[in-house]
């Protein structure tokens, strides 16, 4: 299991684009969609969790369930529902996860209406590395046809006013990074300990 981010070794994620993302054929896969500026312009979530750590936890959550993961970058949108839904439609199991650079996340399914979702994690400041592990784990369980209990999320009424301005700025920046003709590209992610 994971501990707080302070005593974790620092890790970096290297993201290599592999070309346009296609539809998966394997039923045992989950597709993770990341936003335009994820691990490029931004390296941390709104609450300073390194994005490398976010990726690592989601990947671990999926792997622990024995399910495979493909990661794609949605370059032409900063809309979470769109990112998650497109990931789901590319996924062989029909299950996708979307994550924005500031941490806001969603689990989606291909047959759902875009604005609906299986699980939504709207308050990015309250998400911990453990939550991201659980998001990966639940997405993988849905892909296997299991019925996981939804990931528990905290609710803090103060989070909204406290982070609203920062969230708005981060969203503007993310939207600026959109490449309208960029489409969706499949990526390779390699995570290394800093300095190794």
């Amino acid at each position: 299991m994971t501990s707080t981010e302070t005593d974790r070794p620092e890790r970096t994620a290297e993201i290599t684009e592999k070309g346009p993302a296609g539809r998966g054929e394997r039923e045992d896969e989950v597709v993770l969609g990341i936003s335009p500026a994820f691990c490029s312009f931004f390296t941390k979530t709104i609450s300073n969790i390194p994005l490398a750590e976010v990726l690592r936890e989601v990947m671990a959550g999926v792997e622990e369930q024995g399910v495979s993961l493909r990661i794609v970058r949605v370059k032409d949108s900063s809309d979470l529902a769109k990112i998650a839904h497109r990931a789901a439609r590319l996924s062989g199991s029909g299950i996708g996860v979307g994550i924005l650079s500031r941490g806001t996340s969603m689990i989606h399914q291909k047959d759902l209406a875009k604005l609906s979702n299986l699980e939504l994690f709207p308050q990015a400041p309250l998400l911990t590395p453990e939550t991201f592990r659980a998001i990966g784990s639940n997405a993988a369980q849905y892909a296997k046809g299991e019925s996981p209990a939804p990931v528990p999320v905290q609710n803090d009424f103060m989070a909204r006013p406290r982070y609203q301005a920062k969230a708005a700025l981060l969203h503007l920046k993310e939207t600026e990074m959109i490449e309208p003709d960029g489409g969706i590209v499949e990526v390779d992610v390699s995570i290394r300990r800093a300095g190794s």
């Binding site: 299991m1 994971t2 501990s3 974790r8 671990a60 792997e63 622990e64 369930q65 024995g66 399914q109 047959d111 759902l112 209406a113 609906s116 979702n117 299986l118 784990s137 849905y142 046809g145 299991e146 019925s147 209990a149």
Partner: protein, 623 residues
Amino acid sequence: MASGAPRLVVGVDIGNSTTEACCARVDDDGGLEYLGSGLAPTTGIKGTPDNAEGVRRAAGQALADGGCRWPEVDLVLTNEATPVISGLAMETITETVVTESTMIGHDPRTPGGSGIGVGTTVALADLADRPVGEDVLVVVPAAADFEDVAEALVAAAHRGVGVRGAILGGDDAVLVANRLEETLPIVDEVTLVDEVPLGMLAAVEVAEPGRTIRTLSNSYGIATLFDLDAEQTKMISPVARSLTGNRSAVVVRTPGGDITDRRVPAGSIALRGRSSTVSVEVDAGADEIMRSLARIRPLVDAEGESGTHVGGMLAGVRDAMSELTGQRPDEVAIEDLLAVDTLVPQEVRGGLAKEVAREDAVLLAAMVRTSRGPMEQVAAEVRRVLAEEAERVLEVEIGGVEAEMAVGGALTTPGTGEPIVVLDLGGGSTDAAHADTDGEVYAVHVAGAGDLVTTLIDAELGLDDKQVAEEVKRYPLAKVESFFHVRHEDGTVQFFTEPLSPELFARVVVLTDDGMHAVPGRHDLATLRHTRREAKRRVFVVNALRALEQIAPGGTLRQIEFVVLLGGSALDFEIPDMIADAVAPYGIVCGTGNVRGSLGPRNAVASGLVSGHARRRRVSGAA
């Protein structure tokens, strides 16, 4: 009886949970025309003045249904609503206790690797200091990162330490296993991993997916691994037994370690019959209790040992009844008991991973019935409330024994004839009445009905939510396989053109009248269905046979020809079939009643009250 123009008569049946009414026109020579029916929840406890409000609503509905108005009403008939109070108590009679952390027998959803490993338990932090050649099982705290753990295990193996398996606190077993060079058994999600004794010989076993462990669930398997003699093998055998059916397990050999399957003293019940009293221990199980009960039947009273749950429950039922009727508690007699064996999930004491064992428990339903409730008070209150509606004083009559009325109503079911048996499947009790060809009616009431089924489902599934248990009881199940289709419990598939709601995705659902509701928890459809059907069988089928035996002429079921099922639980989608199947071998025609050919199992007593009145009128008119 007065004669003259046809009279508008309203029959009202105050039941434990619902009040039913019908209205009819009865003419001078007993001619009868039913006009309408109504149904409302019973207000207050059956047989108390609080019932008047429910009577007003149900009767009002019946009148509206028949196109009549209150001022036209000539006579209101109500049943003699004798209150039946039932109580439920559950007593766990076994308990699994693990001492000195001998074993970890839980089923993490995703253990890692496979195979069996034997070695000395060593903390992750001390792994680097272990000598070359030693066989070890590594005990890993929850906070450790999976990559660090895998690296440490690989490094130790390279150094020549015999790493044979691992016990993890976190949910990381697959992650660690995927990063090792060889396949090792790894058990994870051991909540209290810090309490695993270190420096002891232990074994870890993980089976391939879809299989169960073979070595640690076998006494001789453990004996072989730990080199035990006959005496020690005897000691370890409960451990092996408790690990049966798991996909993964850990057994630690500690000097004083043990696991016991202890019987919990649960108190005794004294059953008093007409001539003798029998005392039976609750932990002897339901069969023994029911056998003792059959020996002394008819039951005059029952008393539980004070200071035990049973004692408390029986005293509670007695107190509730005495409060209601104004009788002294010692004048109130328990008239029937039903004991049911059940298995309830309970956390193992001394377990390290929140292991759950299915423990034996006995569920008891007790029933008290007064010979006569404060009916005059009820009638007075009904008179007062209805006078407000009709704006004049209405004639309210307490009409006859409920069982006779129920038979009268049941006989309006097409295809029935006397001799007939009516089985009223209610919430608190199951009532049976037998009418022979002369119209002589004999009735019995046995404890246990719908409420007991709900309690059984709740306890056995560990739901701890009566509302959910009630829905599992009442509605068929299905599994939502995609947003556009569900698979019903009978295997048929149903497609939808509109996508289902996201909360239902991949869940087992109950098909309620207002749509699908997800059943919380991890139970699969097969388990839910089996639990539901078994609970119904153990209560309703057992009670139906018990009641029929008591009222059948000469105690032989073959003497019964027709059984008509009435009451709320007769509307259930499977209980009537289960009972019909159970009595079919005796050549009994059994089915759900269809009162007046159109009302199903509802309204029998209310209709019976009115038809009884018409018959009396005919007789008096003829005289």
